[in-house]
Symmetry: C2
């Protein structure tokens, strides 16, 4: 039987500005709603690759909830743990790129349906069923999500399940009360740690990468996978290091690339692939993701990844 | 001194689909954020006509709040009663027209910043200062807004202030607990009642217009102004009836027209204009409003109304 993956966290719609500039201070052309939310993108990538996967989350009883439920179900994600909250609104994120590549956001998350998870019979059933848990730092940093996310970590690892962890954090929120402790607790049980770029230093005393990796391995993390955006990726474990070279693609929209990378890595890892193979496909999934407008639109099938790899390595 | 008008109610941004169809089940072209919310549109129309005006409301500390604050202040509306709520999201309404002219919505109001008003020193100061209160039914029907709206009615009418009331209600919400009583209480004190089309029958036993008007006048309403969309408008009082003929314009977006109509009527009424004159300008304000995309974009200046009337009547 294939192992089943659970994540807990936010489901959103994303609305994108189609012009660059600073924020949303006047009416302007937009496109959306795109299904979104980092945990949702991650789990959708697993579904597209055929790995059994589920998400515990909450949406409103509105079109924005339905656009997510429909997409996730179509990609074979188990949506039984997504509660539909009458009278509440599905979370949303408006995003506009500035000319320097940075982004301005307008969020509705904390007070939206997805900001208030609680244990339900459906979510508890998934925690009893799944073999692997993936934690997004965004879920741990949101008060209304953290408790259920930590409960899922607890229950799945207690049954011998494995754990992956993508910090996905802005450094400034690390000062939130209790967050650092929650992150350290999760990190102590992490099999696969998936930081992007500088995020590796959020959890270490070291200030060069090799030393930071060593520090993490010494603390019990089994594998460290460093995502470097359009610079490729690296895998570290006690057995050594593997690297994946950058894949050159036309970048349309980088949002979601790290989440697709993580989903692909976990999919191949759980299926028993070597670190090199898992890293190679994950790197391709990240590259594929940026070629589509919309955060979840670039989640790739196995065929699409094979085609991209054969073209890149051909 | 000019009399000052207060309203209490929701401030939103509106995001509009630029194609017709049924809802938001897939990514599509949109335009926004437009400043919106029926009470906000009403009060903005008063500001554009130079009548002192203020609104008690609440927005998030985000670009969607700022787009409203900036617009209202630019149109000389007193924004001191708009609370900026840290960590909360500004309310929003997504709207898409169907091919039959009906509209599909996705709302975030009840759990947004605007859904939770409470008395503040600033809102109480405005209640002590204003000479006229305008009630939108939307505010009375929202639990988090109704208490402050009723308090404003109480305080302003107790000081001898006048009251206008636009029901702006969908019939199905009239069954909400306590709503009917709140509406009847407001209606009993209403100087100017501004129903659209069939709304007049929500408050009467009668089922023809003349009888319904008579019933309302008998209950103490001083003036009844029936808005008929692109069919013109009528004014009724114990002194008789006046009518305004339709004004032919190119309709781009009807949202907000009734609110602009109401704002213009109250502006002229408070300045001492005859019912015929107030009705004529209100009718022009409604016609002007539909010529612009965006609910508040078509609020007109006095010069714009004079130009439209001279063209229509010329």
């Amino acid at each position: 039987m294939s192992k089943m993956v659970l994540t807990v966290g936010e489901i959103l719609v994303e609305i994108m500005a189609t012009t660059k500039g600073d924020g949303f201070l006047e009416a302007q052309p937009l496109i959306g709603p795109f299904p979104s939310g980092a945990p949702a993108i991650f789990i959708d990538q697993l579904g597209r690759l055929g790995t059994p996967a589920a998400i515990v989350s909450r949406v409103g009883d509105d079109d924005f909830g339905r656009v997510n439920l429909t997409r996730l179900a179509a990609d074979r994600v188990d949506v039984s743990g997504i509660e539909v909250a009458k009278g509440e609104a599905t979370g949303s994120a408006f995003v506009r790129y500035r000319t320097d590549g940075s982004r301005a956001f307008v969020y509705n998350i904390a007070h939206s349906a997805t900001g208030k998870l609680s244990l339900t019979p459906e979510s508890e059933a998934l925690m009893a069923q799944c073999d692997h848990m993936h934690v997004m730092g965004t879920a741990l940093s949101a008060p209304g999500l953290a408790e259920v996310a930590r409960e899922a970590v607890e229950r799945i690892t207690a049954r011998g399940g494995t754990l992956s962890f993508d910090p996905n954090l802005r450094p400034e929120i690390l000062d939130s009360p209790g967050l650092r402790e929650a992150l350290d607790e999760v990190l102590a049980r992490t099999d696969i740690f998936l930081p992007s770029g500088e995020e590796i230093y959020l959890f270490t005393q070291a200030d060069d990468e090799d030393a930071a990796v060593q520090e993490l391995l010494d603390r019990g993390v089994r594998e460290v996978v460093v995502k470097r955006g359009n610079q490729g990726a690296s895998h570290f474990s006690r057995s050594g290091r593997a690297d994946a070279a950058p894949i050159s693609v036309d970048e349309v929209d980088p949002t979601g690339a790290g989440d697709c990378f993580g989903g692909a890595f976990v999919s191949f890892w759980l299926a028993g692939a070597s670190p090199e193979t898992a890293l190679r496909y994950a790197n391709a999934a990240g590259a594929h993701a940026v070629t589509k407008m919309g955060p979840m639109e670039g989640a790739a099938t196995r065929d699409q990844l094979d085609a991209l790899l054969s073209q890149a390595e051909g």
